[in-house]
């Protein structure tokens, strides 16, 4: 009962925070400039990790599928088909977002949390600035813009990883791989992947901002809030993933 009360109170506080965040910015030019900065910091700076993970996971998926489909009656291009479906439907949207929840989420919550404990947020409030909107607004918009782009990029790199692994190991020749990539391709799956990644981007950025913004105490609390924001973001991503999959693919 106590847990339900606490959870409901937390949801209420989160809603109040988001109500503050979605209000009109004090100055649009400042908002756009900050959003571009955040796209650079949260999106462009994540390209490295997304490239690395997508390439290797794409390669591993291809090798594993190929090793499990060694029946001569199953055509080779099925491997590329299965790798593509795995990468598009689950890996690039969900797994990449779980990784971003760790990298970007902890960055957001610790940055805003440090501003809270060093009274920088109070300074914004004193100036008459809506600090929640000023700090969290550009981060949320930047994530909503960046994450779908990162997901498309991850799909591309993942498939490249698969192509290279398939060719280099001789498990799937390049021609078969290309046939498999085109086999019963449904553009709707890309739309589904982008839609859920947009939801995940919102979850990561808003949860992390909320936990950072509401820190009370000192440096120890910054670490705790950062961990908490990552855990909650991951749990929410997994739950929303299940619901979205049920609604959109069933």
């Amino acid at each position: 009962m106590m847990l339900i009360d606490t959870s409901l109170a937390e949801v209420g506080k989160y809603c109040r925070f988001m109500y503050q965040v979605i209000s009109k910015p004090e100055k649009w030019s400042v908002f756009f400039r900050r959003t571009l900065d955040e796209v650079n910091k949260l999106g462009v700076d994540s390209l490295g990790i997304v490239t690395l993970i997508s390439f290797f996971i794409g390669a591993v998926i291809t090798i594993q599928v190929a090793n499990n489909l060694d029946n001569p009656f199953i055509p080779k291009y099925t491997v590329a088909f299965a790798a593509r479906e795995t990468i598009v439907l689950e890996f690039s949207a969900t797994i990449v977002c779980l990784i971003l929840a760790g990298k970007v989420g902890s960055n957001i919550s610790s940055e805003i949390g440090t501003m809270r404990i060093t009274e920088q947020i109070d300074a914004l409030d004193i100036m008459g600035i809506n600090s929640a909107a000023y700090l969290a607004g550009p981060k949320i918009v930047a994530m909503i813009i960046s994450v779908p782009v990162l997901v498309v990029y991850s799909i591309f790199i993942g498939i490249i990883g698969g192509v290279i692994a398939g060719s280099m190991t001789g498990l799937v020749p390049l021609d078969d791989f290309i046939v498999g990539l085109h086999f019963t391709f449904k553009p709707y799956y890309i739309a589904y992947s982008l839609f859920k990644s947009t939801l995940f981007a919102f979850i990561i950025s808003s949860c992390s901002s909320y936990y950072g913004y509401n820190i009370r105490g000192g440096a120890l609390e910054v670490g705790k809030a950062s961990t908490q924001s990552v855990v909650i973001s991951c749990v929410l991503i997994l739950m929303v993933n299940l619901m979205v999959t049920q609604f959109l693919l069933s």
């Binding site: 400042v30 920088q120 109070d122 409030d125 004193i126 100036m127 008459g128």
Partner: protein, 248 residues
């Protein structure tokens, strides 16, 4: 003039400010003094609206904060400048950008004019040639001066300072005190300073409010503070005097 009328504040059931009534006069440096944990910062933060008082009211030149809507409160905040204990400068901005920040957010001046105004404020606090440095690259005393420049850049009517000379050496602390006092008199603003530094009390304190365990026990000026009949204030003063004598 700023008036606190019967304001109380509790955190988690623990009362930290108990029916405090005080008046802070125009064009003067008003000091709130008291031991650490006496409720000075809570009173100051309640006055500026960072904490919402549980009861009572605060009046800015007769304007009741309680009766103000969100927009009016936001407007009032643009008449307020505040210097925080830890300076609260934005780490990602340079010194000049920090000072220019309120103008960037609210003023319609051109960039050249905003820069000029920021530089003028930096010159006023005797801080030339630090424009392009980041807060982490300057000393604590310089950070305080940048905070003062940022607080005055919008020409506020009310200036609040939360322990502006804490963590500074006595010479720099005295420079910061003098700077705040000069700015107060030049611009005729109402300044409220939170401090437990007796040097500040005797050098710049024109109106003094003494707080103990969340209660206002005494108010007066530096001429009559030594003749007070408040035992808590006398005890506080005696401890401070002993420390000053050891210092000498």
């Amino acid at each position: 003039m700023i008036e606190a009328r019967d304001i109380s504040k509790a955190f988690d059931g623990r009362t930290v400010m108990n029916h405090v009534t005080a008046t802070f006069e125009d064009g003067k440096t008003n000091l709130i003094i008291g031991k650490s944990g006496s409720g000075k910062t809570v009173l100051l933060k309640s006055l500026v609206g960072l904490y919402e008082a549980d009861s009572g009211d605060i009046l800015y030149d007769g304007r009741s904060v309680r009766q103000m809507g969100r927009k009016q409160r936001q407007g009032l905040r643009q008449e307020i400048g505040m210097i925080f204990q830890g300076s609260a400068l934005f780490d990602s901005l340079t010194v000049e950008e920090n000072v220019r920040f309120p103008l960037d957010m609210f003023s319609d001046l051109s960039l050249a004019d905003r820069r000029e105004k920021a530089k003028r404020c930096l010159r006023r606090v005797n801080l030339d040639n630090a424009d392009s440095l980041y807060p982490a690259q300057i000393s604590g005393g310089m950070q305080k001066r940048v905070a003062i420049a940022r607080a005055i850049v919008q020409e506020p009517r009310y200036l609040f300072c939360d322990e502006p000379n804490s963590g500074l050496d006595p010479v720099t602390a005295s420079v910061i005190d003098s700077l705040i006092s000069e700015i107060t008199h030049e611009s005729g603003i109402t300044t409220i300073i939170n401090t437990h530094d007796m040097n500040s009390v005797f050098s710049i304190g024109e109106h003094i409010v003494f707080i103990e365990q969340g209660n206002k026990l005494w108010d007066g000026n530096q001429d009559n503070i030594l003749q007070s009949d408040c035992p808590e204030l006398n005890s506080f003063m005696a401890s401070a005097r002993r420390l000053m004598e050891i210092g000498k």
